[in-house]
Amino acid sequence: MTDATLSSLPVSSLPRQGGLLRTILSADPPRSKALSLLLLVVLLALVATPFALPGSQPLGTAAKICIFILLAASYDLLLGYTGIVSFAHTMFFGIGGYGIAIALNKLGATWSSVFIGLVAALALSAALAFIIGLVSLRVRAIFFSMITLAVASAVLVLASQMSGITGGEDGMSFQLPPELRPAFKLGTFLDTAINGRLLAYYLVFFVALGMFLLLLRIVNSPFGRVLQAIRENEFRAEALGYRVVSYRIAASVISALAATVAGALLALWLRYNGPDTTLSFAIMIDVLLMVVIGGMGTMYGAVIGAALFVLAQSYLQVLMGSISESLAAVPLLASLTHPDRWLLWLGILFVASVYAFPGGIVGRLRKTS
């Protein structure tokens, strides 16, 4: 892990090359040919999915990848760059989802409902993150983790019980504004119908891309450098004049806001929000795994981690199903490769990858180059 964090800082006295790409990537390029190639493949695949792969399942997977890249990247800001562990990240994800769901359900399927729902969710997330940070980050970073766990559990219970507002365990479906409905048609391009569903996908794609680049900018700003200094030695950062608690609270609020946007995108995409799609602790663990597998404190790790994880979630079961069938004659292997065991195999893959690449995939790729 140490080598990965070291290499997460670009060498600073290289002559500054101007250029659009440098500005877009905030002077923090992938710094590995293999990684650049991998990121380019992910980007092109996400752009082209609607035209290259027909059907709703690939599009749904691509949208989920976009959203989880944003969610994992916002978690990396906290875990990888600031060095604090939060268990409330899916709570903010859920607040974004519920903000959209409740607003569109109660106020009608209009763009102003989307706007109101999003702004209300962002305000609630910012307030919660600020208060949690204020009461817990003054003490110790570990206390923050405990508090986030407690608050997130409370919110999960609350969301499940207040069924009048949130739809309870069943969650809540709603209509999208007309432009995002499948029935909204603009014509065809490359044999693909340009409809509301496609517009919704590109809305998710471009918002996630923009937010990712914004997070990349923030971690490479003077502020981002302070966060990394705090991660390295909070005592010295304070002695240099950086109020550690304020920086940590700010990082926590920014991270929460980005997670809220991700939750709003997921709700818009699914036209539904419920405890299991955004709030559950299972998702919290998934996000943690995405960041660790991809490489903490690198931002690009979130892209690789989220893409791999969502693909595995969507297709590992299918792959295992066919393996299991072909091994039907072999009793033990057939049951080991049963699709229901996919989490077991994902777990084994996780342990193996953490053991083999302690700096995550990005750390590994940067080392070899």
């Binding site: 140490t2 964090t5 070291l6 800082l9 060498v11 600073s12 006295s13 500054r16 500005t23 905030s26 002077a27 900018r217 923030i218 490479n220 700003s221 003077p222 502020f223 981002g224 450098r225 302070v226 990394q228 200094a229 390295e232 030695n233 005592f235 010295r236 950062a237 304070e238 002695a239 240099l240 004049g241 950086y242 109020r243 550690v244 920086y247 700010a250 920014i254």
Partner: protein, 259 residues
């Protein structure tokens, strides 16, 4: 200590005390430090010198007493706010950002002084001036060729120099050095002493120096104060303090035992 005719002290402690359980580590230390002076703080190990420093710069909270900078009470301020009031501190045990480059370590200190830490939407190297200043500072401490190395890969002596560079990068009104030459090789010591001498020669900076080496103290200090068991036991001109019986007995005797 400060007579009525003196200007407001740059730094003053009044009855500064800290207790750890039953142990009084710093015991009612009252002392004023005039602008532009270099005061050496001596005393045997465990006398409370570093603890006294920690109380002044805010790493520890005082049980009783107060700390004043330019006559204003800063006792309730956190360490970061004290830094912005002009207190700068170098640490006895090297205390750096181990995995960031030497240049980034220094740049962070300059960035803090420039008040640029909250800038979120610019790339860090937009402030070219901060980088150039950091490079000049590394030049000053003879670490320019090692600017892309991280402290964990630097030699002990180089880490000490980087520690001094971080303090000089802050350019505080009050410099606090805690055994800046400890563990340095003989040929590296003059570099650091020369830097301290240059800061002193500017005349507008107040320097506190914890130091064991008596020859260093003699050559740099305008004044010596002696801490023993957490209490201030002697204070005055270097020659008279070193000659005083209490120092001969309490400090120099023990120093000999240490060596």
């Amino acid at each position: 200590m400060a007579s009525a005719s003196n200007p407001t002290p740059a730094l003053e402690t009044r009855g500064l005390t800290i207790r750890f359980g039953g142990h009084v580590a710093v015991n009612a230390v009252s002392c004023a430090f005039q602008p532009g002076t270099l005061t050496a703080i001596v005393g045997p190990n465990g006398a409370g010198k570093t603890t006294y420093f920690n109380l002044i710069s805010g790493q520890l909270k005082a049980t009783a007493g107060s700390v004043l900078v330019d006559g204003r009470d800063i006792t309730r301020l956190p360490a970061s706010a004290r830094t912005h009031r002009g207190l700068g501190r170098a640490f006895q045990l090297t205390n750096l950002f181990p995995q960031l480059t030497a240049l980034e370590n220094v740049r962070l200190a300059i960035q803090s002084r420039a008040g640029a830490g909250w800038s979120m939407f610019n790339i860090w190297d937009t402030r070219r001036d901060l980088i150039e200043e950091a490079e000049a500072m590394l030049e000053t401490v003879h670490l320019a060729d090692k600017r892309h190395l991280s402290p964990k890969t630097l030699s002990h002596g180089d880490q000490r120099k980087l520690e001094v560079a971080l303090l000089m990068a802050l350019d505080p009104k009050i410099y606090m050095f805690d055994e800046p030459t400890a563990g340095m090789s003989v040929d590296e010591v003059p570099t650091v002493l020369e830097l301290i001498h240059q800061i002193k020669a500017r005349g507008d900076r107040t320097i506190l120096l914890v130091e064991h080496k008596m020859d260093v103290v003699r050559s740099l200090a305008d004044r010596i104060i002696v801490l023993h068991n957490g209490a201030l036991v002697a204070d005055g001109e270097p020659a008279s303090v070193i000659a005083s019986p209490i120092v001969q007995e309490a400090y120099l005797g023990l120093e000999a035992a240490h060596d």
